[in-house]
Symmetry: C2
Subunit: 503 residues, 2 copies
């Protein structure tokens, strides 16, 4: 109870089960949570129980980004979520989407807040927010992420707060909440340096809208990151060599520019590689602060990290919380409308490093749909940063599935980032610097530097034959452009089988 | 000579032929010009003559956007341009690119300036800029466009100025030049209202770099716009009905938000439709100010238009120049780094209306490459606005080539705007509002509302069969997804022939 400092709100305290009764069929619910950190847990579990007990409840769920098993997992299993925005990663939700049980719209993470505020996603009924505490004034101090929480609190009819005592109280002060008005009254975002604090450390709210306060101590179910393997190490080396050359040629300052990195094991491994670089006094301006960034802060390589979420792998969470006071003044959490703002990303000139599922010879990137149809996670913030980065880099291993998939293909089977937004491709094979090149030059550059040797010859063959066509700007053979994927779907490999060779 | 007010520069005056001698093989040249307005004419013609006389000169040409026949036309015919950024429209240049004679990189127009300043496109040797005058201080007053002129003047070793007396001296004062620094020193762009003037009405420059001043009176070769036809009228009506509904439902203010519109006959016709709407006191914040905007200013519908270029069709140019003082205080020209700035577009909340070549059932848009390979013009500023618009609308007639092409296809043959960036599709058939919909819902909505009746059935058939596949998020049959284009390339029509039906 000491984390609830506002006396007026004491009478709103109830059990998760009681709070779960506030949800009605067909409601739109906005929750905290980003890269499974800081998402609500106790109330969703109690809500799932209602469905298990036979009630029929269908909801639209809007979050910051990915959330953990107590939310996306439990509510999907209970058949509660009918519609989902803007990003997800749990196996349950992914399967439900790919089986057409959930209607999913995969959005740029900088868009969600304004779409909610413009009314494009309907009226938000309930904001369900995890907090470390509530101030004397009744304002909400978020926990390990902010995401779109400030916007849901502003827009929702009712607010439910989960005060989570497993989240260290020391998180108070780490947040910097700045609200953006709607056009035509929208103003400048006054963030000029990555360490600027432009707002307040809590989410202001209308106390009358707070309908329930629940206490819980369920820990964030963050994801473990895989140990750094040889392939990731090689990719990190290639990336660092590229950045070093940019500094040498005076296209980048000696201490680089603010780094943005996607999330996950590969992204983590690549960022970890900076430990062995000569760069110092680095700054991170990204969505997610994950293990590697914490390590780089500890070693002194990174002096500041700004994001909208801290996600530390489970076996390192206790250690991080123990040392939180050391990290605290080097970390800032912002609403994702600010962390992912095109305005800010372009002003700061971020170095945008994101992961691709596959890349085509002309530099288009697929970040979301395997073989064109199967959603993996979502585009996340990669587009916010890629379009507005100083340098925009996509990384991918050159092959997948033990070599049965080439990550470099004639045409990607789904487009998330187009030729206009992709400057550099890094694989374990090497680096393709595409800046200023025409499509055909890009193709030669990518095949030569990034493709796996097993697929190079066939890629060159495709390009050569395509160039024999009438129109030579972006040469394609449309009857063949997606045949590698089709072959994989039919045979389990992109490699030509004997049958095909015989044709 | 009275337009050259700086005494110190009088000795730089020379003939176009003399100025043309400053160009050497392999140089990178940045010129003024946007949507063929305000581009240099006399010096390029003289330069083309050098090549015709047998000299071998190869150049990289970077402009604001499209330029007229004296530049892209004459230099392409003379085989001088080897590499081209970021946009083009002349038949000569388009053919040269599609025949692999010119290496063309088709860029977001907001990117070009910073790529030049970051050194990503190499060192600019010569800036060749059309001006209406040079001030006493030696500063350049641009003519009918600004484009990237300020950046080329800043970055080039040498500056050549064409003072064009066919451009009215009254253009003085219409420009608002604001320079953006490179990260990490980049600041806020202090433009909060569309009519804010944030800079100075001339391009400052280092006088020592001015190597030649040439006088000319060759008029802008702007393009004629086609008369408004029935199909365009229907598209305009559909668009206006959509906007009216948005106002009714309070998702847009009564006088809308700043309008951005692509360029060309269809865009012009659609904007003209606003004449018959109930909207008033409209504001345009766009790249290009074309005929329809001038008409809307005249009729009082539009109170202010901001762009980087004024392009009036040839038969209306004299009339516009005669009344220029009437229009002048209602027009502002800005560098394209400002007119197309994501920061400003998102802040103002522009209504982005751009033209698509084709759209697929999931809402992806092809703006550039016909049948996947043949470049038309380029992406231009459509991405700058579409990604950052308050509402993002793409328009296209539902068919092309007399019905042999469906503009709604299973999968676009080239992706410029992805599903994440397209909110509304307008054809003469109707309006598809895709906001908040999952891919499958988008498909039904587009087919139902926007596809031509001749192709509806086959589109639904494709979607239904695709949904029978294993992964149902973005259902595709990859072996068929591009078959409509392939059929067109083989048979001249996307319609199934008897041969195919017999299969």
């Amino acid at each position: 109870m000491e984390r609830l400092k506002c006396k007026k709100l004491k009478n709103k305290v109830m059990t998760p089960e009681q709070a779960a009764m506030l949800f009605k069929d067909d409601m739109i619910v906005g929750t905290s949570g980003f890269t499974p950190s800081g998402y609500p847990k106790a109330v969703p579990l109690a809500l799932a129980q209602r469905a298990k007990n036979g009630e029929s409840i269908g909801l639209t769920l809007i979050t910051g980004a990915s959330v953990g098993p107590e939310l996306d997992g439990a509510l999907t299993e209970a058949n509660i979520i009918k519609r989902r925005y803007p990003y997800q990663t749990t196996a349950e939700m992914r399967n439900a989407i790919n089986n057409n049980k959930v209607q999913y719209s995969d959005m740029h993470l900088s868009h969600t807040a304004q779409w909610v505020k413009y009314g494009f996603l309907g009226k938000v009924d309930i904001a369900l927010i995890e907090a470390v505490s509530i101030t004397e004034e009744g304002y909400i101090v978020p926990s390990t992420s902010i995401g779109n929480s400030n916007v849901f609190v502003e827009m929702a009819d009712k607010i439910i707060i989960e005060i989570n005592s497993s989240q260290p109280i020391e998180l108070e002060g780490i947040h910097d909440i700045y609200d953006i008005k709607n056009p035509p009254n929208r103003d400048i975002i006054p963030l000029i340096n990555p360490d600027d604090r432009i707002g307040v450390p809590y989410i202001k709210c209308d106390l009358d809208k707070i309908s329930a306060i629940v206490f819980t101590d369920i820990k964030d179910k963050t994801r473990a990151v895989a140990p750094v393997d040889e392939v990731s190490k090689k990719m990190a080396q290639n990336l660092i060599q590229f950045l070093e050359k940019e500094v040498e040629e005076k296209r980048l300052p000696i201490n680089l520019l603010p780094l943005q990195s996607g999330v996950g094991s590969v992204a983590n491994a690549i960022l970890s590689g900076l430990e062995n670089s000569k760069f110092k006094d680095l700054v991170v301006y990204s969505e997610v602060i994950q293990d590697s960034v914490i390590d780089l802060i500890k070693s002194g390589k990174v002096k500041l990290a700004s994001g909208t979420s801290i996600t530390i792998s489970p076996d390192r969470l206790d250690e991080f919380y123990k040392d939180i006071n050391y990290y605290k003044n080097k970390l800032i959490l912002r609403p994702q409308e600010i962390s992912n703002s095109p305005e800010v990303a372009r002003r700061l000139g971020v170095i945008a490093i994101n992961t691709a599922i596959e890349v085509d010879i002309y530099g288009n990137v697929n970040s979301t749909n395997i073989m064109g149809s199967r959603i993996m996670n979502g585009i996340g913030g990669s587009g916010d940063f890629a379009r507005n980065g100083y340098i925009t880099i996509f990384t991918t291993e050159s092959i997948a599935k033990g070599g049965d998939i080439s990550s470099i293909v004639p045409m990607v089977s789904h487009h998330d980032h187009t030729e206009h937004d992709v400057m550099v491709i890094v694989t374990e094979q090497g680096v393709a610097d595409l800046r200023g090149l025409s499509p055909k030059e890009r193709a030669r550059c990518i095949i030569e530097n990034c493709a796996h040797p097993d697929y190079k010859e066939e890629l060159i063959d495709y390009l050569n034959r395509a160039q024999e066509g009438k129109y030579k700007h972006t040469p394609h053979i449309l009857s063949e452009a997606l045949s590698w994927h089709d072959r994989f779907l039919r045979t389990g490999t992109m490699k030509k089988g004997k049958l095909e060779e015989a044709k």
